[in-house]
Symmetry: C2
Subunit: 134 residues, 2 copies
Amino acid sequence: MNSELLLREHDLKVTPQRLGILSLMKIKGHVDVEELFLTMKKQFSSISLATLYKNVNAMLEKQLITEIKAPKLKAKYEIVKEPHIHLLCKECNEFVDLDINLETLIDDASKKSNYQLEESCVVLSGLCEKCQTN
Amino acid sequence: MNSELLLREHDLKVTPQRLGILSLMKIKGHVDVEELFLTMKKQFSSISLATLYKNVNAMLEKQLITEIKAPKLKAKYEIVKEPHIHLLCKECNEFVDLDINLETLIDDASKKSNYQLEESCVVLSGLCEKCQTN
DNA sequence: GCTTAAAAGATAATTATTATCCTTTGATAA
DNA sequence: TTATCAAAGGATAATAATTATCTTTTAAGC
């Protein structure tokens, strides 16, 4: 979806910096704040780290993006989509999405626990195909 | 299992501080470093934060404990056990284990991705039973 | 074009974590 | 059981990550 619309729908003002952040997330999938900062600097030479933190937090609050945390990994951010699995390679740190449907698992967990579940953070880690042979 | 044995089996020296850490994890399930520090201080009044960080890191390396990270939550640590689900209540911050077997999910993910998976960090969050009615 | 609240930028402050250095202690073997 | 020594503990400095504060700039509605 159009980033401008995405922002408006989440009650966030449209600014060039925010458009840049979303555009980067669309291209790279997951980004951490440092990546954001380094990449954004090329386009907005005077951008401040504070701006990035503030925007990430605002977007989190409005549930436009979601945060993924996992052992040995900086917090990463991605645009909200269906619950899915994140795969992390411990060797090369490749970090990718795997679109296995988690509905069944979540429903199951919800029934067994009586929790009303809204959000998932599922990270499986190990070795990617390449790193297994090396 | 006996904490002393647990430490030895993981090539870690047995110290009173380490026994204290494990004992706390056995009682509380998950702990973060701050909790560790505050609780341990009662027993070891001169314990240093550095000791806790160093021990947590040593135990992580030896795979005696595992780290759970999730949005809006400090890193928590627990003694290694079978892959399972963590439930987090966004309202009261209750954080509990749910023993749903994740083998099938992990096998599935492994097949689809060709990753050799070793570790899981699965956190589902929402509202616990109590907080739904309030 | 104005107006205004919100966002951006600069930077200080805070918090979390790691590094360093010296002292103490657990494990081993004489 | 005690002597040895590498490893662990404790104190604290250093670093990294994040948040807070304040001033300037800008997006959005009239």
